[in-house]
């Protein structure tokens, strides 16, 4: 064992505590001050105090209540200077005296609310008054405890851009007087879908990038998974929450097999399935089972499709008929030409290329797919399987001319020979 620089070690320990506690801290403070932006500043202040004091005093026995108490004292100082906040000050005073009276149980008092507070924080960070970019940045900041620098690196934008986004988002929440509350029951479905969209967007931002770009990109997948798992604990009876978690767990299970030795992408059917992460597959299938017992929705269906691949020990064992059927249901509840194109692939695998081609040809007049390289690529593949090689070649040429992705282009060009 090697000795480490004690100061640096304490700093890293503080970072770890911060990472575990920051979201709950911000959420608890937001309930008291009714302002997410202010809550985050107060939490940050408490972190600064910890960074100053803990290296001298050592990390306190129970760091979470310490941070909370420190932040609340900051809140009192701040609110005292703002006379318009007298009412809030009173509330805060009451809150503090109640908690001080029950000093040994400070933790429990915090625990009682913390789940609700975290949910409110998630719904506020993903509020529809914010742009999608702002929701993503604010969610990573408030719930993920990521720094603006980390968010900037993950999304390949500059740090001031991210900082701006977050400042503006907080301002918007304040100026539109977005309450720190759960959505009303009649709004819940819509608001929840905004939350799920943000989480899946974060996941895809990390997942769609090729390996080796930046360490933050795989970290985004992990972060999205973590957020999904938190949400799944908070809303265990929401089918689509479980569905999204199932989908992300199963997709993430393929990460070790998705790229080759020089970073080139490996298509699903060509992946070495022995490298898939069985633990994540198991978790994904479990979440899927729970989701399916609760209802049906687009994420649950996509997870069910992903599960068909996860269950197949080799690509030949894939249950394509089931995948085709699941795509049909998906196309029914959430119609999209891209879903239909995926269904064509599954139909082609399950019932032969001629059947698949019928589905594709019905899509050829689809405006939304104009310029979409995968339409000619799928068609070319089905034509090649039918032995219509000249037509297939034309389609692959077209696909190669449409894609903007170099690696994809070379994949399509390979099919020309």
């Amino acid at each position: 064992m090697t000795a480490t620089d004690p100061l640096r070690a304490t700093q890293r320990a503080i970072e770890a505590v911060w990472r575990i506690e920051s979201a709950r801290l911000i959420a608890g403070l937001a309930r008291i001050v009714h302002d997410v932006g202010l809550a985050e500043e107060l939490a940050q202040d408490a972190l600064v105090v910890a960074l100053e004091q803990w290296p001298k005093t050592g990390v306190p026995e129970n760091p979470a209540p310490w941070l909370m108490a420190t932040a609340k004292h900051r809140a009192i100082d701040l609110l005292r200077r703002r006379s318009t906040y007298e009412r809030k000050l009173e509330e805060l005073g009451r809150e503090l005296s109640v908690q001080q009276a029950a000093e040994p149980d400070l933790d429990a008092a915090l625990d009682d609310h913390i789940g609700d507070d975290l949910l409110r924080l998630i719904f506020t960070a993903c509020h529809p008054v914010l742009t999608t970019e702002a929701r993503v940045a604010l969610t990573l900041r408030l719930l993920g405890g990521l720094t603006t620098d980390e968010i900037a690196r993950a999304f390949l934008v500059s740090e001031p851009t991210v900082a701006q986004r977050i400042v503006r988002a907080k301002r918007t929440l304040a100026s539109k007087r977005v309450p720190f509350e759960m959505p009303a029951p009649e709004e819940l479905a819509g608001r929840l879908s905004s939350v799920l969209e943000v989480i899946y967007l974060i996941f895809n931002e990390g997942y769609s990038a090729t390996a080796g770009d930046d360490w933050m990109r795989p970290a985004l997948c992990e972060e999205a998974l973590r957020l999904g798992r938190i949400l799944s604990g908070l809303m265990p009876d929401e089918a689509e929450v479980q569905g999204l978690v199932a989908l992300m767990e199963i997709q993430a299970s393929r990460m070790p097999a998705r790229t080759g030795p020089s970073g080139e992408p490996i298509l699903l059917l060509d992946q070495d399935r022995r490298r898939w992460d069985r633990l994540l597959i198991g978790r994904g299938l479990q979440a899927l089972e729970r989701a399916e017992s609760l209802g049906v929705g687009p994420y649950t269906l996509q997870a069910a499709i992903a599960a068909c691949h996860a269950r197949a020990l080799s690509s030949e064992d894939t249950d394509w008929a089931r995948i085709a059927a699941l795509y049909q249901v998906l196309a029914h509840i959430s119609p999209s030409p891209v879903v239909e194109l995926n269904r064509a692939v599954a139909v082609g695998m399950a019932f032969g290329p001629a059947k698949g081609l019928e589905v594709v040809d019905a899509l050829r007049s689809e405006r939304a797919l104009e310029g979409y390289a995968h339409l000619p690529a799928v068609r070319g593949d089905l034509l090649a399987k039918l032995g219509r090689l000249d037509e297939a070649r034309q389609e692959f040429e077209r696909a190669a001319s449409l894609t903007r992705n170099e690696r994809e282009r070379s994949l399509f060009l390979e099919r020309l020979t």
Binding site: R12, A13, E15, A16, V17, R19, I20, E61, G115, A211, G212, D213, D214, W215, P218, A219, E222, L225, R226, L227, G228, R229, I230, G233, L234, M255, P256, T259, G260, P261, S262, G263, L279, R283
Partner: protein, 123 residues
């Protein structure tokens, strides 16, 4: 990053206090809901297990208990962003033992599990 935490201790002569088990369940629930704990379970004494050994080209199977003074008590698998985070969760776990089971002593080894990032192609 994924970390495996292995708890080792001298086999106790009495079962752990119920308050400790309750506190461990509560902490496990918290860590799960924080998205950090992927899997955890307690391990039966090695008397219920066996060891398959390869030595000098010969395979042998020996039933437990093993000769080591300390037994493996439990494992936990965490998904976290730093070693310190795994250490923090483990420290909380060990504090429960300190506070709720007088005189108990043991080691929790925090080990990083290799992941795709360890085999990633050079950027």
């Amino acid at each position: 990053m994924r970390y495996l935490v292995l708890l080792k201790a001298v086999q106790a002569s009495t079962p752990p206090p119920p308050e400790l088990m309750e506190a461990i369940m509560k902490l496990g629930d918290e860590a799960t809901k924080a998205g950090a704990l992927l899997d955890t379970a307690g391990l039966a004494p090695s008397a219920a297990g066996a060891r398959v050994q390869l030595a000098g080209g010969r395979l042998s199977v020996t039933d437990g208990p093993f000769a080591e003074a300390k037994e493996m008590i439990s494992y936990a698998l965490y998904q976290v962003r730093s070693k310190e985070e795994a250490v923090e969760w483990t420290t909380r776990f060990m504090k429960l033992h300190r506070d709720l089971w007088e005189g108990w002593e043991g080691d929790a080894d925090v080990l990083r599990v290799f992941g795709p990032e360890d085999f990633a192609p050079p950027a």
